[in-house]
C-alpha cells in the first residue's frame, strides 16, 4: 500500500486512506478536482481552509491536507462566515452536500448569498441523504425513489442555481461529477472573484440513489449525466430545475462582480470609523488617543438617606432622560449610589410609562420601588396609572397644566410647575423635562446642584447644552421663588 501515492498527495491526507466513499461515488473525484485546482493555483495553501457540515460530502474537510473543519449538520456556511470575517486573510472553502447546504442549512445558504459573504461553496448534489442510508431531501427529483419516498417523490426539488442567483450570489455554476475539467475551471474562476461563489456538482450516488432509480452503478450514472446534461453559455437559471426526463442544464449562471461583504463593510465603515485591518489574534494595537477628561468624583460625598423617586409621563416627554440625568449626577458627580430602571416592555409604547431612581449613600440592594418617597408626574394618564402608589408622606412634583391630582391621601406635599408652558417660552416644548429637573433641584437636596448641571451637560445632544441649561435655570428659579413664598 505504502508505495501507492495519490496524484494530489500534497493536498490529500494519505494517512486517512482508504476514504469512506462507496464505489462509483462522485465525491472523491470532485475532491481530487478541487485539490488539483488548488495545487495549480500557486497560492499559499496554508491560507486555505475547508469547512464541511455533516454527510458524505461533509467528510471532505477531513481529506484535504489543509486546515479542515468538520462542523455540525447544516451549519458550515455560518461557521465559515465566522472564520472568514475573523481572519480575512483566509480563503475559506465550504465543501458539503445538498441536504446539508440547501435543506437543513438552507437559511444560512440563502443569507450568505444575500450578504455576498466572501466564501467559495462547493455543493455536492447527489439527490439524497447518502450517509444515513438514502432518504429524500430538498433536492430529490420529483417521482424518483428514496428510502423515505418509496412510491416516488411527490415534492418539487429546489432549482439550486435559480435559488442562488435569486439570493444574489456573485458567481453560480453547475456541473456534474463527470465534468472534471469544468469543475476545475469554475474553481479557478471562483478563486479570482470575491463575494459568494457557488458551484453545484451533480454527483453520482449509485448505492443509495441510483440503485433505487434504475442506475445501479457509477458508470450508469456517469452515462446518465453525459447523456442528459446540456452545457450552455449564459444559461438561464429559470431552466435549471432537475427533472428526470428533461436535460440537466449546466454552465455558469451568474458572474456578477458585486463587491464581497468584506469590501462592502469597509466601504461603509471606513469613512465613519477608522477601521484598521483586523489581525485576528485578539491582540489589536489601539493607537493612543487624547484622553477625554474623566469626571472626578466628589471625594467625600454628602450623606443621603435612601430616597426612592418614581417618574411618570407619556412617551416623548423625556421621562427616561430625566431619571438618567439624576442617576448620572448622583453616581458620577456626587459619588453617591444610584440605581435607575425603566418600566420595560415593547407593548408599553404609546401609553403612560415610568422610570425609577433610587439614591443613597449606602449600597442599594433591592433595586425597585414599591412605595415611592417622591413622585414626578408629567401627564394625567400617568397620574391615573400610578395614583395607587402614592402613600402618605409622598412628595409629588407635577406639571401644573397637565396634571390635576384628585383624591390624594393625607400628608402628600404637592409642588406644581407649568413645566411644558415654560419650556415653550424658552423655545421648545421638548425641554419640559429639563424645566422639571431644575424645579426639583431647587426644592430638594439629595443631588447637588453642580452635579445635576454637569450630568445635564453630558446627557443632552452636543450643541444644545446652553439651551438646556436655560430651561433648567427657568425651572430652578421658579422653584426658588416658590420656596421663598412658602417660608
Amino acid at each position: 500500500m505504502s508505495e501507492i501515492k495519490h496524484p494530489s498527495g500534497k493536498l490529500v491526507r494519505e494517512d486517512r486512506m482508504p476514504h469512506i466513499f462507496c464505489p462509483g461515488c462522485g465525491i472523491g473525484g470532485t475532491i481530487s478536482n478541487i485539490a488539483e485546482a488548488l495545487l495549480e493555483s500557486g497560492q499559499d495553501l496554508d491560507k486555505f481552509t475547508v469547512v464541511s457540515g455533516i454527510g458524505c460530502s461533509g467528510r471532505a474537510a477531513g481529506y484535504f491536507k489543509l486546515d479542515g473543519f468538520h462542523t455540525t449538520h447544516g451549519r458550515p456556511v455560518a461557521y465559515a462566515t465566522g472564520q472568514k470575517l475573523a481572519n480575512p486573510d483566509l480563503n475559506v472553502i465550504v465543501f458539503s452536500g445538498d441536504g446539508d447546504l440547501t435543506t437543513i442549512g438552507g437559511n444560512h445558504l440563502i443569507h450568505a448569498a444575500r450578504r455576498n459573504m466572501d466564501l467559495i461553496v462547493i455543493c455536492i448534489n447527489n439527490f439524497n441523504y447518502g450517509m444515513t442510508g438514502g432518504q429524500m431531501g430538498g433536492t430529490t427529483p420529483t417521482l424518483t425513489k428514496t428510502t423515505t419516498c418509496v412510491y416516488g417523490n411527490f415534492e418539487t426539488p429546489f432549482n439550486v442555481p435559480l435559488l442562488m442567483t435569486a439570493c444574489g450570489a456573485n458567481y453560480v455554476a453547475r456541473w456534474t461529477s463527470a465534468h472534471s475539467h469544468y469543475i476545475k475551471k469554475s474553481f479557478h474562476e471562483a478563486l479570482e472573484r470575491e463575494g459568494f461563489r457557488f458551484i453545484e456538482v451533480i454527483s453520482a450516488c449509485p448505492i443509495n440513489w441510483g440503485r433505487r432509480n434504475k442506475m445501479r452503478t457509477g458508470i450508469d450514472l456517469v452515462k446518465f449525466f453525459l447523456n442528459q446534461t446540456v452545457v450552455k453559455e449564459n444559461p438561464d437559471p429559470q431552466d435549471a430545475l432537475i427533472q428526470m426526463d428533461t436535460p440537466i442544464l449546466c454552465g455558469v449562471f451568474a458572474d456578477e462582480g458585486r463587491p464581497g461583504l468584506l469590501r462592502s463593510m469597509h466601504e461603509v465603515l471606513s469613512p465613519k470609523v477608522k477601521v484598521e485591518k483586523f489581525r485576528g489574534d485578539g491582540k489589536i494595537q489601539v493607537p493612543e488617543t487624547k484622553e477625554e477628561e474623566a469626571p472626578e468624583i466628589v471625594s467625600s460625598p454628602k450623606k443621603v438617606e435612601q430616597v426612592k423617586i418614581k417618574l411618570g409621563g407619556l412617551g416623548g416627554q423625556g421621562i427616561a432622560l430625566l431619571g438618567l440625568i439624576m442617576g448620572r449626577a448622583t453616581c458620577i458627580f456626587d459619588g453617591n449610589e444610584a440605581v435607575y430602571s425603566q418600566e420595560y416592555g415593547a407593548e408599553a409604547r404609546g401609553g403612560a410609562s415610568a422610570s425609577s431612581v433610587i439614591i443613597s449613600s449606602e449600597k442599594i440592594d433591592y433595586p425597585y420601588i414599591k412605595v415611592p418617597d417622591v413622585m414626578v408626574l408629567m401627564a394625567q394618564a400617568a397620574f391615573r396609572k400610578y395614583k395607587s402608589e402614592i402613600q402618605p408622606g409622598c412628595t409629588l412634583f407635577i406639571d401644573k397644566d397637565l396634571v390635576k391630582p384628585e383624591d390624594l391621601p393625607e400628608d402628600v406635599k404637592v409642588y406644581a410647575v407649568p413645566a411644558t408652558r415654560m419650556a415653550e417660552e424658552v423655545g421648545r416644548k421638548v425641554v419640559a423635562n429639563i424645566v422639571m429637573l431644575g424645579f426639583i433641584s431647587a426644592l430638594t437636596d439629595y443631588i447637588s446642584l453642580d452635579a445635576v448641571q454637569s450630568a445635564l451637560k453630558m446627557s443632552v445632544p452636543k450643541g444644545t447644552e446652553e439651551f438646556n441649561l436655560k430651561a433648567f435655570q427657568a425651572g430652578y428659579e421658579y422653584g426658588e421663588k416658590l420656596k421663598k413664598e412658602e417660608s
Partner: protein, 384 residues
C-alpha cells in the same frame, strides 16, 4: 481608532456594561440575532466593535450566530454572542461543537420568563440547568452570574479569561433585571485589566498533535491559517484530530473534556460570602437574587437572627466543597432563585441530608419580594 477601554466612571446599564467588558477583554468578534432582553448588547457592539477594529455581524438566526462564533474562535478571534432563553435553546447544538472542538467563546444569556416565549421583557433565572445540560451528551462548561452592571463589566473579562484558559464556551448568566438596571460602572485603566489569550501552538508543524494535552488537560490551539494544517471535527477524535469512532477513544476524549473543568474546579470556582461565620441559616443564591438576599440578611441581623449568604459567582462548576462544609456548620441551607428549583437540586444532591434544605421559589416576572423571603426565612429558622 476608538478606545477599547473606556477608563472612567460611568452610569451604565448591565447590557452596555457587558459589551464594554467584552471589548476590554479583547473580544473582537460578535455574531448575534436580536432577542429581548439582550438587544442593548448587540446594539452597543455594532457601534463599538468597528471603532476598535473588530467585526460585528448580525446572523440569520441563533444557530448561525453560535456557529459563527465557533468559526471565529478557530479563526483566531476572541468571539461572543448574546441572547435570551429561546435563542439560547437554538444555540445548544453548536455550543456542543465548541465543547467538542475546544473553541473558547462567550455566550451571554440574558434570562427572561420561560418556557417558550414566556415573558420576553421580564426577569427569570430559569436557564440554570440549560446552561449546564442544554446540549446533548456529557460535557462540562463554565457559567458565571453577575448581580450588578459593575459585575457585568468585570465578569465579562472573567468570562473571556476562563474561556481562553480552559478552551470552553463560557455562559454569562445575566437576567432581564440586571440587564436593564443602570448603576455606577468604574472602568479601570487598560494596564490594570488582566486578559488571557489561549495557549497558541508555536512548535514544529511536522507531526504536530492538535489535541495532545499536558497536566492541565488543555491542548495548544493552532489558529486557522498558521500552517499546521489540522483537522478539527465534532466527531470523536484522536490526538491528531482525526475521527476515531471507537469506544476506546470515546472513553479517553469525553472524560478528558469533562475533567479539564472538574479537575481544575478549585481554580475556576469563585463565590462571595456575607455574614456567614456564625450563621445558623444560610441563603444560597446567585445573580440578581444576591441583592435581595443581601437585603434580607441585613434585615435579619437587625432582628438578631443569625442569617448568612453564600452567593455563587461561578454557578457551574458548582462549589460542592464549600456547600458540604456549610452543611456541616448550619441548621439549614435555603436556595433563593427565580425558578421553581434548579440550583436547589444541586444543593440537595451535595448536602445529602447533612442539614435541612429549603427552596424559596419564584416562577419569574419579578425579583423576589425581600419581605416575603424574610418571612419565609424566619419560619425556617424557627422550625430548624
Amino acid at each position: 481608532m476608538g478606545k477599547d477601554v473606556l477608563t472612567g466612571v460611568h452610569f451604565m446599564s448591565g447590557n452596555h456594561a457587558c459589551a464594554e467588558g467584552a471589548i476590554a477583554a479583547g473580544c473582537r468578534y460578535y455574531a448575534g440575532y436580536p432577542i429581548t432582553p439582550s438587544n442593548e448588547i448587540a446594539e452597543r457592539m455594532s457601534w463599538r466593535l468597528p471603532q476598535v477594529g473588530g467585526i460585528y455581524i448580525q446572523m440569520e438566526d441563533e444557530i448561525a450566530s453560535m456557529a459563527a462564533i465557533v468559526g471565529a474562535s478557530w479563526g483566531g478571534a476572541k468571539s461572543m454572542t448574546a441572547t435570551s432563553g429561546p435563542g439560547f435553546s437554538l444555540m445548544q447544538e453548536n455550543l456542543g461543537l465548541a465543547v467538542m472542538t475546544e473553541a473558547p467563546c462567550v455566550i451571554v444569556d440574558v434570562q427572561r420568563g420561560a418556557p417558550s416565549t414566556g415573558l420576553p421583557t421580564l426577569v427569570a433565572q430559569a436557564d440554570v440547568m440549560q446552561a449546564r445540560w442544554g446540549s446533548h451528551g456529557d460535557y462540562a462548561t463554565i457559567s458565571i452570574s453577575p448581580s450588578s452592571p459593575q459585575e457585568c463589566f468585570d465578569f465579562m473579562i472573567k468570562a473571556f479569561n476562563l474561556a481562553e484558559t480552559w478552551r470552553v464556551p463560557v455562559v454569562m448568566l445575566s437576567d432581564e433585571s440586571i440587564a436593564h438596571l443602570s448603576e455606577r460602572v468604574v472602568i479601570p485603566e487598560k494596564k490594570e485589566i488582566k486578559t488571557v489569550f489561549r495557549k497558541v501552538a508555536t512548535g514544529p508543524k511536522e507531526g504536530f498533535l492538535p489535541f495532545k494535552v499536558g497536566d492541565d488537560l488543555v491542548p495548544e490551539m493552532p489558529i486557522a491559517g498558521s500552517g499546521y494544517r489540522v483537522h478539527v471535527t465534532g466527531l470523536t477524535h484522536d490526538e491528531r484530530g482525526y475521527p476515531d469512532l471507537s469506544h476506546r477513544m470515546h472513553e479517553q476524549l469525553v472524560p478528558r473534556l469533562v475533567n479539564k473543568i472538574k479537575q481544575n474546579a478549585e481554580k475556576i470556582i469563585e463565590y462571595e460570602e456575607f455574614m456567614i461565620d456564625d450563621a445558623e441559616v444560610v441563603l444560597i443564591t446567585f445573580g440578581v437574587s444576591t441583592r435581595i438576599c443581601r437585603a434580607v440578611v441585613k434585615r435579619a441581623r437587625m432582628d438578631g437572627l443569625k442569617l448568612g449568604m453564600l452567593r455563587l459567582i461561578t454557578v457551574w462548576p458548582f462549589p460542592e466543597k464549600r456547600v458540604i462544609e456549610l452543611s456541616n456548620q448550619v441548621k439549614a441551607l435555603v436556595t433563593v432563585e427565580i425558578n421553581l428549583g434548579q440550583l436547589a437540586l444541586e444543593v440537595e444532591r451535595v448536602v445529602k441530608g447533612r442539614c435541612e434544605t429549603y427552596l424559596i421559589p419564584n416562577a419569574g416576572g419579578e425579583v423576589h419580594d425581600p419581605e416575603m423571603v424574610y418571612a419565609r426565612v424566619k419560619e425556617i429558622a424557627q422550625n430548624s
